[in-house]
């Protein structure tokens, strides 16, 4: 309990941002905590309890999302290499405008950021949120998600790019970004 309490907010936010069925937040947390409690003898005191707990929550979210079976998320084409991602954004003139002065767009778009997050592929979203909410290192994220560290790096780069593209799109639609 003493380990768990400081991370209530982060676990809850992670659930709310990653679950497809928002009504399942309590159930997912409950199952994850019950499973973690069941396996608590496997937890080594002194190791990162946050990462250990996030792993259980993430697994439960995957189960829940699978049941919910929403299929609107499509992975980006596999041939979009990580090296290309920064360059795609850089080629966009409006993105330069956004970089120069992001406040007008970001000040108005909490909902857009939230929606853009929902539109990311599940793995990109998980990596991005573990980094932003959980403040985990790439290695910790790789362990939580049970994926290679290279996948974490590429997912994060793609996720960041897509969020930026969405912000540019929003800024353009709202007339907040104009080519100079």
């Amino acid at each position: 309990m003493r380990h768990l309490e400081p991370i209530h907010g982060a676990l809850e936010s992670y659930c709310r941002r990653l679950l497809n069925d928002l009504n399942a937040v309590a159930d997912v947390l409950q199952s994850a905590i019950a499973n973690a409690y069941r396996d608590f003898h496997l937890y080594a005191e002194g190791t990162d309890f946050r990462a250990w707990m996030f792993r259980y929550v993430h697994l439960q979210i995957l189960n829940c999302n699978r049941k919910y079976s929403r299929t609107r998320h499509e992975e980006l084409p596999a041939n979009l290499a990580v090296e290309d991602t920064w360059q795609l954004a850089l080629d966009e003139p409006l993105f330069k405008v956004l970089l120069d002065d992001p406040e007008p767009v970001l000040d108005q778009c909490d909902a857009i950021v939230a929606q853009a997050m929902q539109d990311l592929a599940p793995q990109e979203r998980a990596v991005f949120l573990l980094q932003a909410i959980g403040e985990f290192t790439y290695r910790e994220i790789a362990e939580i998600l049970q994926v290679p560290i290279g996948t974490v790096m590429s997912s994060l780069a793609r996720g960041r790019l897509r969020l930026r593209q969405r912000l540019v799109q929003y800024g353009e639609e709202q007339g907040l970004l104009r080519e100079e």
Partner: protein, 261 residues
């Protein structure tokens, strides 16, 4: 490293990942290249602003109480979480009261559910009850206090029956009718009980009509669930931001508690 190579590694640099040699090479390049230095700085600023939008909100104490309760790991009530809840509740109350004002409170003055919700909001916002029990038997102490202040008998359901932990009581008026109230918690969810004399029900035609049709009336007002019944010639309403079953358990416990009067 040229500009393209350096920019490919912005993610690693921003997240303080990668090896020391890579960071050294990037830093060396940024010291020499003003364009890349500006580009890195702008990317990092934008990323920080996006992450700021995703900062975790404070945990929802009601949700966690439910989660921990069901897993058997429920923690004791903590002042900190209660204070946080009171803070949120104060904001909700302020918004709620503005909405009530806007809609015109007088038009709904005889709606018991609205009045109860309004009063419960005040309690959540930190309004002190008239009386706070100090002894180890708060339910009996509260009953003793109310016996002196209202003309009709008011009970306090014992904690063992419905989990209602009383922490205050007082007297108020609802549509001009005298009422007693008890404040407390079921688990960690704040719950209030309002008791009026049976005759007072005539001042609330909507609830009177509902109780003619059903023994226990359930309704909802904003975020608050409530259950209402006539028990021993009194009108008893239990309200809280929790599920109706829990409130109904409190109501039934109220009805079965031996009368000390």
């Amino acid at each position: 490293m040229n500009c393209n190579e350096v920019r490919q590694h912005w993610n690693l640099y921003h997240d303080s990942e990668g090896d020391a040699e890579l960071h050294f090479k990037i830093s060396e390049h940024l010291d020499m290249c003003a364009d890349c230095a500006q580009w890195f700085s702008q990317q990092s600023r934008l990323e920080d602003m996006i992450e700021e939008k995703l900062t975790p909100l404070p945990a929802d104490p009601v949700l966690w109480n439910q989660v921990l309760g069901k897993t058997g790991l429920r923690k004791p009530v903590r002042v900190r979480s209660w204070m946080w809840f009171a803070g949120v509740a104060a904001s909700v109350a302020a918004v709620g009261m503005l909405v009530l004002l806007w809609q015109g409170v007088s038009a709904n003055a005889s709606d018991l559910s609205k009045l109860a919700a309004s009063w419960h909001q005040k309690v959540l916002a930190g309004q002190e009850p008239d009386f706070r029990p100090q002894s180890d038997s708060p339910d009996l102490e509260v009953e003793h206090y109310l016996r002196k202040h209202v003309a009709f008998p008011v009970r306090c359901p014992p904690r063992k029956d419905a989990g209602f932990a009383v922490d205050g009581a007082g007297i108020c008026k609802m549509a001009g009718e005298p009422a007693a109230y008890l404040t407390g918690r079921v688990d960690e969810a704040p719950v209030s009980i309002f008791v009026l004399s049976g005759a007072s029900l005539a001042a609330f035609p909507h609830q009177q009509q509902a109780l003619r049709q059903e023994k226990t009336h359930q309704c909802r007002e904003g975020p608050y669930q409530m259950v209402l019944a006539v028990i021993d010639r009194n009108t008893v309403l239990v309200i809280g931001q929790t599920d109706a079953d829990r409130l109904d358990r409190v109501l039934r416990a109220y009805g079965t508690y031996p009368d000390h009067h």
